[in-house]
Amino acid sequence: MSATGIGAPVRRKEDFRFITGQGQYTDDVTRPGETRAVFVRSPHAHANIKSIDVSAAKTMPGVIDVLTGAQLATDKIGNLICGWMIHSKDGSPMKMAAHPALAATKVNCVGDAVAVVIAETVAQGKDAAEKVKVDYEVLPAVVDPAKAQAKDAPQIHPDIANNTIYQWHLGEKKDVDAAFAAAKHVTKLDIVNNRLVPNAMEPRAALADYDAGTDNLTLWNTSQNPHVARLVISAFIGMAPEHKLRVIAPDVGGGFGSKIFIYPEEVVCLWASRKVKRPVKWTSDRSEAFLTDAHGRDHVTHAELALDANGKILALRAKTIANLGAYMSTFSSSVPTYLYATLLSGQYNIPSIYCEVDAVYTNTAPVDAYRGAGRPEATFVVERLVEVAARQMGIDPADLRRRNFITAFPHQTPVIMAYDGGDYNASLKKAMEMADVKGFAKRKRDAARNGKLRGLGYSTYIEACGIAPSQAVGSLGAGVGLWESAEVRVNPTGSVEVLTGSHAHGQGHETTFAQLVSERLGIPIENVSIVHGDTDKVQFGMGTYGSRSGAVGMSAIVKALDKIEIKAKKVAAFMLEAAEGDIEFKDGKFTVAGTDKSAAFGDVALNAYIAHKFTGAELEPGLKETSFYDPTNFTFPAGCHICELDVDIETGKVDIVNWTAVDDFGTIINPMIVEGQVHGGIAQGVGQALMEGAYYDANGQLVTGSMMDYTMPRAHDLPSFHVGLTETKSPSNPLGMKGCGEAGAIASPAAVINAITDAIGTENIAMPATASAVWTALQKLQAPKAA
């Protein structure tokens, strides 16, 4: 391993600009003559718009124009769409309601935009927005997914009965029912997977610039996948032909899924820029972010596990209601279906699984993928069921897991996925050693002497990442292919630019991708630049989510580098006057086999461009190659997290005293970055388990609409983490990578809740397990004793 190659903890190339305040996020970009957009948003969760009067607002200082949904419709700007078709069990297609970028006749959630003020400054825009008069006829709202399908629930979209988007299922019900009928033990759980607000620290932003001279539109935005944004905004929304629209996602301050999607504000900024013939910028307030960013999770589930007398799992069944909010966000339909039910086998050999999912509209913000997307929900169901079953049957939770682990690969689960490799015993064993599970009983006794109830919880999770083979996702309803592209440009001086369709928003691609190129070409890492996030530079790409940038994005780079090597060998053969087949490439040097004749990579690069050693008929000049890599399977990162915590008997406050994570991510490019991804994921999962939760009141008002009301994990809420690795290579991509971005968020909620229930001796407690919730549970548990 070289100091900058694969496996080295190289310090990040991108850090200098961030630690010196020179990052360029969307709001940092300015264009001459820039105006500011301020949205007028509905204060009601559900209302008809009777009229909108913008006349007073238009006369306010600094106002350039005030635009409404009626004008948007007149200009034939298309609706936002959901790009993944799900069919109900009766074969009918999902029911996607119209989602205009500005509501013209009806609002369906608080924060729905009804008009936009274009002004010289944000302050002037806000003043004018106050003067827009909207006459609403307020309607009753429904916010609880469990109530959305009730006969008396208000109907949100015309022609969509019972607010039901689809009633989907997966698996063989008959087999499952038979297994349950024969089971010795059945564990049942009711689970609410709490609604979360992603809260990337950089709020969403959009800057649109229309060039009347060329009829070109440029959009800077906070996107995880600028090419997909361009495609949707062009092909479905009809803003501009694809070749007349450039989307640039510069430095992006965190995404966690919430910046995958195409949002109304970027559509409106583009449209408004063309109308006012000036650049239009919008930057979200955090308050707007709470109301309008796609939220995550929000499942209500009843789940059951059937086991034989020895604790062997026979079957699993689950019925889930998934809240998709007021409108279907870009990939919302896939999250509670193919990203969820397909992972219900966990790490276990479960012969039969059946899952039903109803997706519903409510008068709340749209819900879509948030770090893990479906897989955290699945893991929580499986890992809670297994834990509770173990305790009910008097079997050690680690032992019950071991009895059911899949140990032979490939393994076909009953829910589509074919696991290609892994060693679940290895990660459990290593985690148990690192966490000193043997010493737990003593630590529990010691804690009790200090008024603390100590608990230990496991989560042996699996996820499907490296999303995904295009044919496979196409057959499941995806509107896009999920390959990735890479272009490797070798310059005449031997430096290299890699243009990638992946997009970094904290993951460190400028470093890890350069490590790969440095190792493969034998050139200094400083000589490699990674270019991403601009549709004018990178021809096409599918972006970053689903832990796919390593397994898919880097595989594309490998394929392009393969082609570079082939072409460079041809050039070297002419230079060294040898047969192409005799040229060997190693450590940045081309050598004629068995001789001392060689040429350095830089010399070969130069010769490829000056083309003095070969004719155009023999070889095309230049050294640039492209690859579109389509994966052959998902990847299956898996591992074991163990949470050890104390519950304060007096206050119910939970303190995590030790966190152990042992993950199998396959090949690791940069362990420092991988560990950082694990840390961040655990923090988000612990946040979900202990403190985060988005709540709407019965009228559809978001009660947790700011960082003063929605509890974000802070430094003192978390411990330092103990992170370890096991490694089985993924056989499904050339580097053997599996992906690490989501694991922490997928594994951790179940580990926390398993530990709390272990500590206080209850079967179930809902997330977030706040001090108040835990204290209340403790009182209930102690009540019979008192009586």
Binding site: F18, I19, T20, G21, A123, G508, Q684, P713, A715
Partner: protein
């Protein structure tokens, strides 16, 4: 409009602002010092932290006119003029104390204030406790804590 003058990163600056203009807006929009960020609107996240006369303050909750005559240091003013990084900046890079980079300027400015108040030998508990006014969504704080501990030590050298 009102005129405001202050020293920013050692340079005298002046500008005409609306009385309601926040210090963070003045820095970002008038002076184009965009390293100071806005991550929330309730003074919770700390992405906007700068030093006012040497003490950390949230520039999103400070009016530009309030700091008339004051000396402001932003993230752009930390490295030496020749480009040599401040030890705390160096520590954040060395310990991978940042991912997306958005909270980072505020974290570093906050870290320096923790050192000012608590000295160069910081334990994990103190750092975590004192970081209460800064939110990071990427790192889980693990490496930020390590970076601050190391940066504080390096500053004593």
């Amino acid at each position: 409009m009102a005129n405001v003058s202050m020293t920013v990163n050692g340079k005298a600056v002046t500008g005409d602002v609306e009385p309601r203009t926040l210090l963070v807006q003045f820095l970002r929009e008038n002076l184009r010092l965009t390293g100071t960020h806005v991550g929330c609107d309730t003074s919770q996240c700390g992405a906007c932290i700068v030093h006012i006369d040497g003490i950390a303050a949230k520039a999103c909750t400070t009016l530009a006119l309030q700091v008339e005559g004051a000396s402001i240091t932003t993230i752009e003013g930390l490295a030496e003029p020749g480009g040599k990084l401040h030890p705390m900046q160096e520590a954040f890079r060395e310990h991978h104390g940042l991912q997306c980079g958005y909270c980072t300027p505020g974290m570093i400015m906050s870290a320096l204030d923790i050192v000012r108040r608590n000295g160069n030998n910081l334990d994990e508990h103190t750092i975590r406790d004192q970081l209460d006014g800064n939110i990071c969504r990427c790192t889980g704080y693990h490496n930020i804590v390590k970076a601050i501990e190391a940066g504080a030590k390096a500053m004593a050298k």
